[in-house]
């Protein structure tokens, strides 16, 4: 009983959010075409560009495959089996979210210098980004109706084939959504690949800024990333199919039965242990080593506390604004089919694979020209977080709203509520746990953000990430370690809550 077309009052704020997300694209168009289409085309079609594109796609393919393997296996083990300590493992599986890719890469690289290049980048990126797959898949596995699996088993299909043919199919949209975030994360990552000295497309864009001081080549290359993102989002939308995901039928959901692991418990525990050790224990251990190497001179608790407070503040503001903007987009994307809804979602994602520097420069461009009072003030930084991380929140909110039966919104409208109030009074409270999860995730990624923060922060302001950058810039790893540790500890809190969250 959903209207065929999204009401204007919902569409308008959603379009506003979409337009904000499209700002970097407008900037890229201006800069890329500054010297004519031919010049831009020439840059995009060099052999080197194609090579970098191939490398980025290769890295993204390997990382997303590995993330799907890690994410789905851990999700299934923790959500659907009698794995001993499942609750603990499910928290541990989300903790890597708290670890910035540059910290993970640094830990691996300093421990195993030979790990540089493709393998090192793939390892570091996989171990920090698999929770993007783990979280939605685990939530789906906990929420799905076990009746389907039971029917499959009763039809003579064995447990493994039932998993492949029924369960895996049911988690496909969740896994695809998470996988998309992983791919975009890999495409936009600069920290890990530069520490691992592996030249990717994004690193090419950074190098272009540093080498030529000419923004046209970097913009032309960025446009390629945008096109790639749009294609990927379209592919992901197709994997969703036409099925609705809200639970049909009233009453409380049946408690999902757990598969008995039996003797397989030992290898299952070993697998969880190995992943956790590599993704959480190892980088924390490396940090511990540097912390221990420090002394009182490198240890400034007052400054650390102040920086942590500032970081929490801007990340919270970023998460709040991103969530508010993502709500109408997520609601439209979840509830309405059609070109407008589709375009909106595409718009939200369009800039997500762009390196932070490009997004930051686009906001520098617009703010310096059209919103100067905001320039290098907190609102602009918070706005940059919203542009960068809108898809993270949209994905979570869209999934959460899909879980809430749309008939309730129809009833609310028939009782005289306008669309925005329906969103506020019915949809959001129903989808609240999922919306909160999206906000928490956004909060974590805002805390870790570096390149846009460096360019757009109010002059003199420091976050944990910028302090980390400053200290490692002079090789003061012992002085950097407390900031890295604080960043991880603070980001671990929402990550922990995400791990505990049951959809």
């Amino acid at each position: 009983m959903t209207p065929e077309r999204a009401p204007r009052t919902l569409l308008l704020p959603a379009c506003l959010a979409g337009a904000l997300a499209l700002l970097p694209l407008a900037y890229l168009a201006v800069r890329a075409l500054e010297r004519g289409l031919g010049y831009a085309w020439g840059i995009v079609t060099t052999e080197h560009t194609v090579l970098l594109l191939g490398r980025s796609l290769g890295l993204a393919t390997v990382v997303v495959s590995a993330c799907l393997l890690l994410g789905i296996s851990l999700a299934w083990l923790t959500a659907r089996t009698t794995l001993p300590g499942a609750a603990v493992w499910s928290v541990l599986a989300t903790l890597p979210l708290a670890i910035p890719s540059y910290v993970a890469a640094f830990a691996w690289q300093s421990a195993i210098p030979g790990l540089a290049g493709f393998v090192g980048s793939a390892v570091a990126l996989t171990l920090v980004s698999f929770p993007y797959v783990y979280l939605p898949v685990a939530a789906t596995l906990r929420g799905i109706d076990p009746a389907h699996e039971e029917v499959s088993r009763s039809l003579g299909i064995g447990p493994v084939r039932t998993f492949l043919r029924v369960t895996l199919l049911q988690v496909r949209p969740a896994a695809a959504g998470g996988g998309l975030l992983v791919v975009l994360y890999v495409l936009s990552d600069f920290g890990a690949v530069s520490l691992m000295r592996y030249d990717t497309f994004t690193r090419g864009i950074y190098t272009s800024y540093q080498a030529s001081f000419d923004r046209t080549p970097a913009a032309a290359l960025s446009v390629v990333l945008v096109l790639m993102t749009v294609t990927l989002v379209a592919l992901e939308v197709r994997t969703r199919g036409r099925a609705g995901h809200f639970r049909v039928g009233g009453g409380a959901a049946r408690r999902v039965a757990s598969h008995s692991l039996g003797r397989a418990a030992v290898p299952a525990l070993a697998w969880c242990g190995a992943v956790t050790a590599a993704a959480v224990v190892f980088p924390l251990g490396a940090l511990g080593y540097w912390l221990a190497a420090g002394n009182s001179a490198t240890w400034d608790p007052a400054r650390l506390a102040h920086t942590a407070g500032v970081t929490l503040g801007v990340a919270a503001a970023g998460a709040a604004l991103t969530t508010v903007l993502a709500l109408p987009v997520g609601a439209v994307a979840a509830r309405y089919r059609g070109r407008t809804a589709h375009l909106l979602e595409q718009a939200a994602y369009a800039g997500h694979a762009l390196p932070g520097i490009t997004v930051a420069l686009s906001l520098v461009f617009f703010a310096a020209r059209y919103a100067y009072p905001l320039y290098q003030e907190l609102p602009l930084l918070v706005g940059a977080y919203a542009v960068l991380f809108l898809p993270v929140a949209v994905a979570a909110i869209r999934a959460a709203i899909l879980q809430a039966p749309p008939v309730l919104e129809s009833v609310a409208r028939s009782l005289g509520r306008r669309p925005l109030r329906v969103l506020r009074e019915v949809t959001v409270p129903l989808a609240a746990p999922g919306v909160a999860a999206g906000a928490a995730l956004t909060f974590v990624v805002c805390m870790k953000e570096l390149p846009a923060t460096l360019l757009l922060r109010p002059t003199g302001m420091d976050t944990l990430a910028t302090r980390l950058w400053t200290e490692t810039g002079v090789g003061a790893f012992a002085a950097a370690a407390p900031y890295a540790a604080a960043l991880i500890v603070l980001a671990a809190v929402p990550s922990y809550l995400l791990g505990r969250h049951r959809t």
């Binding site: 009052t9 308008l12 704020p13 506003l16 080197h48 540089a116 520490l195 000295r197 030249d199 190098t207 272009s208 800024y209 540093q210 080498a211 030529s212 001081f213 000419d214 923004r215 080549p217 508010v324 520097i357 930051a360 420069l361 520098v364 461009f365 310096a368 020209r369 100067y372 009072p373 320039y375 290098q376 003030e377 907190l378 609102p379 306008r418 925005l420 506020r424 390149p451 460096l454 360019l455 922060r457 109010p458 002059t459 003199g460 910028t466 400053t470 200290e471 810039g473 002079v474 090789g475 003061a476 002085a479």
Partner: protein
């Protein structure tokens, strides 16, 4: 329509209303003082800039970042920039701004403090501290130290060289070679170096450590890494030695960290004072002591032990603004399979 959007309008209104309050509380940057964009690391220059603030008697706001990224930011900001001064890690970023006409001509008395080869030919930026490309070698493994980077392409150096091809200072050196000796000669040299299978490291410190540990025999680095290591570990504990190349060899390039005044600056006289402060004896000594770089202002000499005087060096003569043509260097390094 108005009341339909009420929640959004009120949120926006609240934000707009809070903004001046926050500004009044001093939450945001103070508009009045001098604003510096610094591509040099905060850990390195903050103590000096604190002294600058005291000396100027006005507030100094500093924005730290990567030199190249700050240059890109300054170019996007154009005339609207709040920055008065750009403190850059290298000459290339300053050259790029100069080329786009973003910098103001400096006062002649200021320019006169530094030798012409360490400042812009357009007189719109000036070097503050200098660093020299050198060879670091392991004395036990290298009985005859080469006199030129051109020697390194000889077969005797196969598998013995360490370098940091992704590092900006190595790339600046290659750019210098291109400017000094031409594209073809540089390409040939890079091919020859590559044929000797040099060991690539992430940065100069790694190269020096590798030389010191004897993992490679010789390495291409900046001079101050060695002096910092000596200061940290003591002269007796550093095995590696330095070779300052003679005869204007491109391998002896002197690059500078410098400063320029932005076109949008509304505090020209304060900015001039700030540049003069950076060239004062106090600041120059600070760079010499803290970073082991060469002070560039005339009349100031480094007190770092064993550091050869600046005017004794036989650096190649080059317009440092031309180090801005890094793109071609990168293409060449790529063709050689180094990055």
């Amino acid at each position: 329509m108005r009341h339909l959007l009420a929640p959004y309008v009120s949120a926006l209104a609240a934000a707009v209303m809070l903004l001046p309050t926050a500004t009044a509380c001093g939450f945001f940057a103070d508009e009045a003082g001098l604003v510096i964009y610094s591509g040099r690391n905060e850990a390195l220059v903050k103590p000096l800039l604190d002294r600058l603030e005291k000396s100027l008697g006005t507030s100094v706001e500093v924005r730290y970042g990567d030199s190249a990224e700050l240059a890109a930011q300054l170019l996007e900001e154009g005339d609207k920039t709040a920055a008065d001064l750009f403190l850059s890690q290298d000459a290339g970023a300053l050259g790029a701004l100069s080329k786009q006409g973003r910098l103001q001509r400096l006062r002649q008395p200021t320019l006169d403090k530094v030798a012409p080869q360490y400042r812009s030919r357009a007189n719109d930026w000036i070097g503050v501290s200098g660093r020299v490309r050198v060879l670091a070698y392991h004395p036990d493994k290298v009985p005859n130290v080469p006199d030129s980077v051109h020697d390194l392409v000889k077969p005797e150096w196969k598998d013995k060289i360490g370098y940091a091809p992704t590092n900006a200072s190595f790339q600046a050196f290659v750019t210098a070679m291109r400017v000094l000796e031409g594209e073809d000669a540089t390409r040939t040299w890079l091919r020859g170096l590559k044929a000797n299978n040099p060991k690539a490291y992430g940065n100069n410190i790694n190269v020096l450590d590798a030389v010191d540990a004897g993992q490679v025999s010789i390495g291409l680095i900046n001079h101050y890494y060695w002096y910092e290591k000596v200061a940290e570990k003591g002269a007796g504990n550093v095995v590696a030695k330095l070779r300052f190349l003679p005869g204007g060899d491109p391998g002896a390039l002197i690059n500078v960290a410098g400063v320029g005044i932005l076109n949008g600056s509304e505090h020209r006289s304060t900015a001039d004072k700030a540049v003069d402060f950076l060239l004062s004896k106090e600041s120059q000594s600070y760079f010499a002591d803290e970073t082991k770089e060469y002070p560039l202002a005339s009349g100031v000499t480094s007190t770092v032990p064993d550091l050869p005087p600046l005017d004794s060096l036989k650096a190649p003569k080059i317009d440092l603004s031309r180090l801005e043509s890094l793109q071609q260097t990168l293409t060449m390094l790529r063709e050689a399979g180094m990055v």
